[in-house]
């Protein structure tokens, strides 16, 4: 059963940046964009497993640091013409604190 878990205060994640959560399901990257929306993806690019948390965040996309694939933060899908998908997790902000459903 997955449940909401408190992660960290929003301000502890840099804007257009990320933090990594180590979980039983592997590393999960939590991203914060310029509009203070948060997203959570498995920290693995569908291409060659690069750590997406280390990529550059722009709009609602992150660019993998290894070979430059663009992955949607919203649904984990790679931008065409690349093809691939990484798992998304539910995430929310409550009173300035980020929660992850896991």
């Amino acid at each position: 059963m997955s449940e909401w878990k408190r992660i960290i205060e929003l301000t502890e994640i840099p804007q257009l940046g990320s933090r990594v959560v180590r979980s039983a399901k592997g590393d999960i990257a939590i991203f914060r964009n310029s509009e203070n929306k948060v997203f959570a993806l498995r920290d693995q690019c569908p291409h060659k497993g690069g750590p997406l948390s280390q990529g550059i965040v722009h709009g609602e996309t992150v660019t993998c640091p290894l070979h430059g694939w663009n992955i949607s933060l919203v649904d984990g899908t790679a931008t065409a013409p690349d093809e691939g998908h990484t798992t998304c997790f539910e995430v929310k902000i409550d009173s300035g604190v980020v929660f992850l459903k896991i």
């Binding site: 990594v20 959560v21 310029s34």
Partner: protein, 812 residues
Amino acid sequence: MKKMKLVVVGNGMAGMRAVEELLRIAPGLYDITVYGDEPYPNYNRIMLSPVLANEQTIEDIILNSREWYAENHIQLYTGKRINKIDRVNRTVTAEDGTSSEYDRLLLATGSTPFMLPIQGKDLDGVIGYRDIKDTNTMIETAKKYKHAVVIGGGLLGLEAANGLKIQGMDVTVVHIHDTLLERQLDSTAGMMLQKSLEAKGLKFLMSHRSESIVGKDGRVTALRFKDGTEIAADLLVMAVGIRPNFALAESAGIYCDRGIVVNDTMQTYDPRIYAVGECVAHRGMSYGLVAPLFEMAKVCATHLGNFGIGRYVGSVTSTKLKVTGIDLFSAGDFSGGEGTEEIVLHDAVAGVYKKLVIKDDKIVGSVLYGDTKDGSWYFQMLKDNKNVHEIRDNLMFGQSHLGDVGHKGQTQAAAMSDNAEVCGCNGVCKGTIVKSIKENGLFTLDEVRKHTKASASCGSCTGLVEQILASCIGGAYQPADTSSKPMCGCTDHSHGVVRENIRERKFLDIPTVMRELQWRTPNGCASCRPALNYYLISSWPHEAVDDPQSRFINERAHANIQKDGTYSVVPRMWGGLTTPDELRAIADVTDKFKIPTVKVTGGQRIDLLGAKKEDLPAIWSDLSKAGMVSGHAYGKSIRTVKTCVGAEHCRFGTQLAMDMGVKLEKMMFGMWSPHKVKFAVSGCPRNCAEAGIKDVGVIGLESGYELYVAGNGGIKTEVAQFFCKVANDDEVIEYSGAFIQLYREEGYYLERTVHYVNRVGLDYCKAKVVEDETNRRELYERLLYSLQGYVDPWAERAQPSKVRREFEILAI
């Protein structure tokens, strides 16, 4: 708000290109309706010749399928010809009564083949060569009849003749001039071409004027000339030119003059109506090649998309003949004339002819026959107005930038087999690229990179990919315009323009740049943000905001990310020198943090590979205690100053190379630059430090030092060029510092010194640094100013602080 309605008259390459560009930059702005008088969706008209030559099928050359129109919510009417525009009520009406309202109207009505006004031109079997219908007529006719005559020895005529020959007909080309392609080739190349085509079985009647067409039972039987002679003809193809279709526009009262007259924004005299393509007269010129039409389409789309930027200022065109086995390239004005000089290489036996026409040290025209591999390079320089004075001696021998590493020295894409690897980084073969170009209708290098990844990594095979593209799409190929190429998809501004704005208007942070220069995306992308960050901090040191989130991870984590997500740590060893204490500290760190691999690098220092990100601050703390600082092995920054042992120990040494190297490296510590920067100092001309392939190479002599710049030992080995001779250590520091500062201020992001110097010219750099003493001093002082007060990033992050949180992993 109700959507505006855009109606496009003409479902051809120009109109649809404009629509594609519009959908890309302003999706959803319009309800779009397209009328085409042919019964097909948009197809690649320039590929009709390969279809006629049995090399491709109609299905292969469809650019936009009917599904594409549906997916993009475009109402498509095929087989309907618009014959009325009502500009008062803003409607268009087709011959069958179908009608649409518009807020904006785009006319892309193309052109029709010009039919010679001679007796018999309406007989059966007399056709032009323009569309799928004409092509099918030729293929069908070839099955039943024998004799084909093509009037016109231009590009289209020759392609038609070649195709008909392959279809099995006996083909004669009739030309009014005494050489073929007289608008593209000089007489020498024209004669060579005629010979090759004759070898393929085509016949030619040169300097022949047609008088009338003879027919029987309503069908053509022969062509009669002014001198009274005749030639048998069951099929007569007229390829003597095209006429823009502007009757529709003219009937609606839109000003036309041998074409629909448009301004630089592709707007007609009616501000709601735009026009692009062959139907247009722009500054008195009409174009029949596809590359200019695409440029028009792009400009038009930005105006339809309400961005209001971009002007079309006319095109320099290049042509290639799409006849398999014949290599021919022509661009610009090759007719010579006052003030021009010619460089000619002619090898009649090998069938190679190259001519470059040069005026005021710039290429104004080129004709290549038999060996066209440098065509796009010449064309690029022609378009860029590049001064070729410095490379003139080698100009004719071409750009040897192709295939150094990973392509077995291949320089000619045409000679490669389909399974030969073109892009060694991404493992892309020639066949894959060709297939993708054909299937996806690709026209630009960027598109090929996106779809195939070929040349998208190190870029060393760019030349080969360009060749493949050029050979697949012929005259439609337009090399990227380097001088005004947009930085990325987020903006239409070039690197140069953005940089100038940052400097002139004193922008200090990325959001300001994006707002003032109208970025299309909310916060850029992974390619423009690092560039902007660099331009800001290099233009306004100590004032501009250095945004860590706009730096590549390596520069944020101050270590090199590896394929498995671990990092490599390289402590600085000034000039390649180290001490027992430093080595002990490295050994201790290696044990303590279980670093799996320790490697001596090419830059004379030690690399600790496989460190975990969360361990980095602790590793740095230990190294800092031993007095070591970041080696910046990860950044677009000063990397190393490689040295030989020099006069300190070497029996041949003339100068203290290690000492000089340490001084240089300390001077530049913490320097960010457009790309990585490597130095080397050798103590004598034996040059053991390999100074000849560094961004700046210093070679000691008895009487002082020689400085070499713009070398590169990477993707393509480039030997550094002699810059100047200096007398002492202080001058080495000032001259090389000034050169690097010039590069820091003017280089585009990710441009190495060799590419920067190639772009601006070595003479320019010498003028700024060697010859102008005041400027040199100012450059050097600006470098020192921007490096003032630099704090070692490792020491900073070794202490608990906010910048350190990036390295902490969260647990649940």
